[in-house]
């Protein structure tokens, strides 16, 4: 029985919750499939999908493994840039470009992870942040490939073709469902990972590192693998972002984008399966609303951060889950 909030695992959840947990991928998919019917702005809905996936990847590391990374923008950005570069400079088809983006996220995660897990605890956030700044400068300097300060432009994909079928990628609704299919696949993979023995080890390392080590698990390896898996989700999200925006702004790499993942995860509920999507949805909806009447959105981000940390550490979805368990 894989519970989302392990610290409450000893309490027996209600049958409804058990049923919901067992079918969490189907329920989440259903929600995402119906989502564009509720929300009027399709472009915003697509952004929620992409950032939800990004926060999902971050959540695997932060929520389930308990490592706070401030370097996820490098994974997200590498995915976006490599997917974009494959299309713009090498004319790769979209599916290979997305694959490259996913791979790029994993490779960057492997390098950053291998260095950062050598340190422990609190160092981790600092080292990942510093290394992501390093990746930022590298992409910033490689103007020929990345467009430097102006970002990478011209990632134009008009049609998605596969096995003879062709779908119009410019139509907002079909674009939503194409990206949604990737997200649902990612949700399914994540659910499988979490339900696997390896998923149990991930949570065991979070709960008690010493005990996990004493049980014979290589804690360092678990951390590195989880970081790389997290990089795969974030790289995929980045690749989808490049296709959606048809540009890759340099800000994608900026460490504030890392902060975004932390914020969405915290807002939605860290360590919950669907929390990151809730967090991404509420964050982006609020951003759209607040930006209408003030240009100082950042002030609200900071305030939301502090309110969440001080009074609301379980986030929205985390609180809902807790209420359902009680």
């Amino acid at each position: 029985m894989a519970t989302d909030l392990a610290f409450e695992a000893n309490r027996q959840p209600s049958p409804l919750l058990q049923w919901a947990t067992r079918h969490r991928v189907a329920l989440a998919s259903l929600f995402l499939l119906l989502f564009p019917l509720v929300i009027p702005f399709k472009a915003l809905a697509v952004m929620i999908l992409i950032y939800g996936l990004y926060a999902l990847g971050f959540n695997l590391l932060f929520g389930y493994l308990g490592l706070l990374s401030f370097g996820h923008s490098a994974l997200f950005g590498a995915g976006a840039y490599l997917c974009g570069i494959a299309i713009v400079h090498f004319g790769w088809p979209w599916y290979l470009a997305i694959g490259l983006g996913l791979l790029a996220g994993m490779v960057v995660a492997l390098v950053i992870g291998a260095l950062a897990i050598r340190t422990r605890g609190i160092y981790f956030a600092m080292v990942t942040m510093a290394l992501s700044q390093c990746v930022y400068y590298l992409f910033y300097q490689a103007v020929d490939l990345t467009g430097g300060e102006n970002g990478l432009r011209g990632v134009n994909v008009k049609f998605i073709t596969l096995f003879g079928f062709q779908v119009d990628f410019l139509n907002p609704l079909s674009r939503y469902y194409i990206i949604c299919s990737f997200v649902i696949a990612a949700l399914w993979v994540l659910s499988r990972i979490l339900a696997s023995p390896f998923g149990a080890v991930i949570e065991a390392v979070r709960e008690n590192e010493a005990r996990a080590r004493a049980s014979g698990y290589d804690v360092m390896l678990v951390r590195l693998l989880t970081f790389v898996l997290s990089g795969a989700f974030c790289g995929l999200a980045g690749a989808l972002l490049a296709l959606h925006l048809s540009t890759v702004p340099i800000e994608t790499m900026h460490y504030e984008t890392s902060g975004l993942a932390v914020m969405m995860c915290l807002l939605g509920g860290m360590g919950t399966f669907f929390g990151p999507f809730i967090g991404a949805a509420i964050f982006l909806l609020l951003e759209n609303l607040v930006s209408v009447w003030t240009s100082h959105w950042q002030l609200f981000v900071g305030l939301a951060f502090m309110v969440c940390v001080l009074f609301f550490p379980r986030g929205i979805w985390g609180t809902v889950m807790e209420k359902m368990k009680a």
Partner: protein
């Protein structure tokens, strides 16, 4: 020709030490706060930036640079005291990530408030008249202001050293960094010590921001980039170690200025390459203790 190059290298070395001085001050504050409170202060860059802006405001309202050197740390240190008392204190004992996240959010607020008050674009910051010009330091002419930055940092470090080594309060801080539980058992009011240490850390960060202002100008984003570099310094020096912070700060400054001489486009990346190297060889940093972070 060879002599000329050596002179150039010598000058660049000095420039690196001056740059390193700013890193040292930032890293000392970070290290002090971490060593005592186990809080990684992600708002440290924001306090640094705030120091420069408070200095700018004081200068515009009739203050002079010397007055700023005294007032800026007091003002920003006061803000730091309030932050610790009101925002960070409720989070002790709730896991190390929470104060970190809180200060990250706080840095957004400080930066945005500065943007609202002073505007989004940057300002130049005049070097005080007395410190303009250059002096001959043997290998060539070196800007007087940069020498002043080195000297001012040395004074702060010496003062801090005296405070930590020669006062009873400093003794409590050093003991608290080693084992806060025992210090508390011995009847010391640790929360008061923590409050003051956080205030001191932010005051030193603000002082560093003021010192850096005439070198680089003042923009709201100045704290963000230097925060990552200050993290590198603390990681390289060893978290919680003041001596480590000093040596690593100077080393990082020299590495930056030397790479800007030979391969300018690699200057920013070189810092992180240095950190990666240190992490590979000695993950706890130059003077870090292996067990401190667990």
């Amino acid at each position: 020709m060879a002599g000329l190059t050596l002179d150039l290298i010598g000058l660049q070395l000095f420039a690196g030490v001056a740059l390193g001085a700013v890193y040292v001050l930032l890293a000392i504050g970070l290290s002090l706060i971490f060593g005592m409170l186990t809080v990684v202060n992600f708002a440290h860059g924001a306090f640094y930036m705030l120091g420069a802006y408070v200095g700018l405001w004081l200068m515009a309202h009739g203050g002079n640079f010397w007055l700023c050197l005294v007032l800026v740390p007091l003002v920003v240190g006061g803000i730091g005291l309030a932050v610790e008392r009101v925002l960070i204190r409720p989070l002790y004992g709730r896991g190390i990530d929470y104060p970190l996240l809180l200060t990250f959010g706080l840095s957004y607020i400080i930066v945005e408030l500065v943007r609202i008050t002073f505007g989004k674009s940057g300002y130049p910051f005049d070097t005080p008249d007395v410190l303009q010009g250059a002096v001959d330091i043997g290998v060539g002419f070196f800007p007087l202001y940069r020498l002043f930055v080195i000297a001012a940092t040395a004074v702060i470090l010496f003062g801090l050293w005296l405070f930590l080594e020669r006062t009873s309060f400093g003794l409590i801080i050093r003991a608290g960094a080693r084992d806060p539980l025992i210090v508390r058992v011995l009847g010391v009011n640790v929360s008061k010590v923590w409050l003051i240490v956080f205030g001191m850390g932010t005051a030193i960060a603000a002082f560093a921001g003021l010192l850096a202002a005439p070198l680089q100008g003042v923009i709201p984003e100045m704290g963000g980039t230097i925060l990552a570099e200050a993290f590198v310094v603390t990681v390289v020096g060893g978290m919680g170690s003041l001596l480590g912070a000093v040596l690593a700060g100077i080393l990082v400054g020299v590495v930056v200025s030397m790479t800007s001489l030979f391969a300018p486009e690699m200057a920013k990346v070189a810092i992180f390459a240095l950190m990666a190297l240190v992490l590979l060889i000695r993950p706890q940093g130059f003077f870090g203790r292996a067990g401190l972070m667990s």
